[in-house]
Amino acid sequence: MSNSIIIGQYVPGDSWIHRLDPRIKIVIIFCFVVFVFFANTALSYGWLTLFAIATAASTKIKARFIAKGLTPVWFLIIFTFVLHLIVTREGTVLFEVFTFPIYSGALIQGFSISLRFFLLILVTSLLTLTTTPIEITDAIESLLHPLKKIKFPVHELALMMSISLRFIPTLMQETEKISKAQASRGVDFKTGPLKDRIQAVVPLLVPLFVSAFKRAEDLAMAMEARGYRGGEGRSKLRELVIRKQDIIALGLFAFVIVVLFLLRS
């Protein structure tokens, strides 16, 4: 099925990016997402690209695999680029395509916006590629912890997140299984008029919902049976600890940002 989509898919590995504290990773990526918008010269863009690619390389995940996973997003990036070419009318006219003028400003705008897009998606997918969903939720719970003071249900939110993340692969497997079973009973999901194809979804969705509700019920029962009663006083199996390498990573990232601001105009 959708084997090529890697957004949200963890690739096991043992690179130092994999071993970083997930909180540090989230903080760095969050900052990166903000600072991408500060780049405004070719050099600053180049610097951020270098950072992103160097990080991607140090995860030791095959470049081809990452690139393949980004395929659904390429379309969006190219679309943004073309849109900018058509809409922006700044700078001088460089050349004409079928009597349609292409401005230099449009080229620069289109290029930088698409590059931003690419960087954002690359770096954020590196987070999910190198961090297990459980680590991510643990990190979010820990980062949001201060909000507990204003009665924000941090633990419950993290629990909801980890449960839904946990069930994504299960539901995908289930979808695949049921669609295969129905295909064997003559349902055609891929060809035929649109109306028929929409109708073909019903035999897929009904069993999927039935099993999702059943799973939810079973899970609730199992949690209750094991005495779960929320976050109060609950200890953790995996404690998150900031180590030396995490501090180094933060330092490196701070350096990247400082250089970025030096390269800005």
Partner: protein
């Protein structure tokens, strides 16, 4: 329909860190009308194998022939719908595929998709309900009101409603009570004979394989490990244990009998009663001589 696999390989998610070779150069023949058991440890490639039988998966390498249909690695499968009509697959836990409002509608769903006319479908439904031991009074009930075992029967009826000539069963009795298991397997055995089906049974149960199949294929790590007549394959205790499989109880008992009394009883698909009588005769005979 004759089925043949010719050096079939299948790889999940090729060229990714998750690459997994599920089938490796698998070749075998299944004659039309035979009852074949495919046995193997979890993850040996059984489920991947059966999905090739109606074109749900296409081999990454090799060629499959099912009657007149050819499935090759390079090309799209022609007439896949016609093939699926011929090959009915009962998947593991088939009750998960139920979705219609009433049982009658769910059974009719498959044949309707293949363009069988209403009249013919209505003729088939009561016959099917009888075959799977469900009362006709249930026909207008929702399949979700039923017990797990009954749902399984409805789902099986839904596949049988296609009147396939090849019937593929992926652990059809998993999770049923012993009586239900027996009933369902006996039903398949009867159907197999009556409709002259080619039946392929994927199972963990050596007992079922021994009892119903006339040909056994043992899979291990995507490859064919052993193949042959059930009573020939199942006596090779050491070889079976290497792939975490057990010798069926009947054969275990016959082997123990041989060790104790020095008398060999060749297993040829006898029933338990027949075997018991045979042993009785042998032992009585022994007593006479001693």
């Amino acid at each position: 329909m004759d089925i043949s696999f010719n050096e079939v390989s299948y790889t999940y998610q090729p060229n990714s860190p998750f690459e997994h070779k599920a089938l490796i150069d698998l070749s075998f023949q299944i004659d039309s009308g035979s009852f074949v058991a495919i046995v193997g440890h979890t993850g040996s490639g059984k489920s991947t194998l059966i999905q090739h039988l109606n074109g749900l998966l296409r081999p990454t390498k090799g060629e499959i022939k099912i009657g007149d249909y050819h499935i090759r690695a390079e090309e799209k499968i022609a007439k896949v719908k016609a093939l699926r009509r011929q090959v009915g697959i009962v998947f593991q836990y088939p009750e998960h595929q139920l979705f219609e409002e009433t049982i009658a509608k769910d059974i009719a769903f498959g044949p309707k998709n293949f363009g069988v006319d209403e009249e013919e479908i209505n003729r088939r439904i009561p016959i099917l309900m009888e075959a799977v031991h469900l009362p006709l009074t249930l026909l207008d009930r929702s399949p979700f009101d039923l017990s797990g075992g009954q749902m399984r029967r409805v789902a099986i009826a839904g596949v049988l409603a296609l009147e396939p000539s090849v019937l593929v069963l992926d652990e059809p009795t998993a999770g049923l009570d012993p009586k239900g298991q027996q009933e369902i397997m006996d039903m398949f055995a009867t159907l197999h004979k009556k409709k002259n089906l080619t039946t392929i049974l994927v199972t963990h149960s050596m007992e079922d394989a021994l009892k119903y199949a006339d040909h056994v294929i043992i899979m291990d790590h995507g490859q064919k490990y052993m193949e042959g007549l059930p009573h020939e394959v199942f006596v090779e205790k050491d070889k079976l244990q290497q792939v975490q499989l057990d010798v069926p109880e009947v054969i275990q008992f016959l082997q123990a009998f041989e060790a104790k009394f020095g008398q060999t009883i060749p297993y040829q698909g006898q029933t338990l009663t027949e075997l018991a009588r045979l042993m009785q005769e042998i032992l009585k005979g022994e007593q006479k001589y001693v």
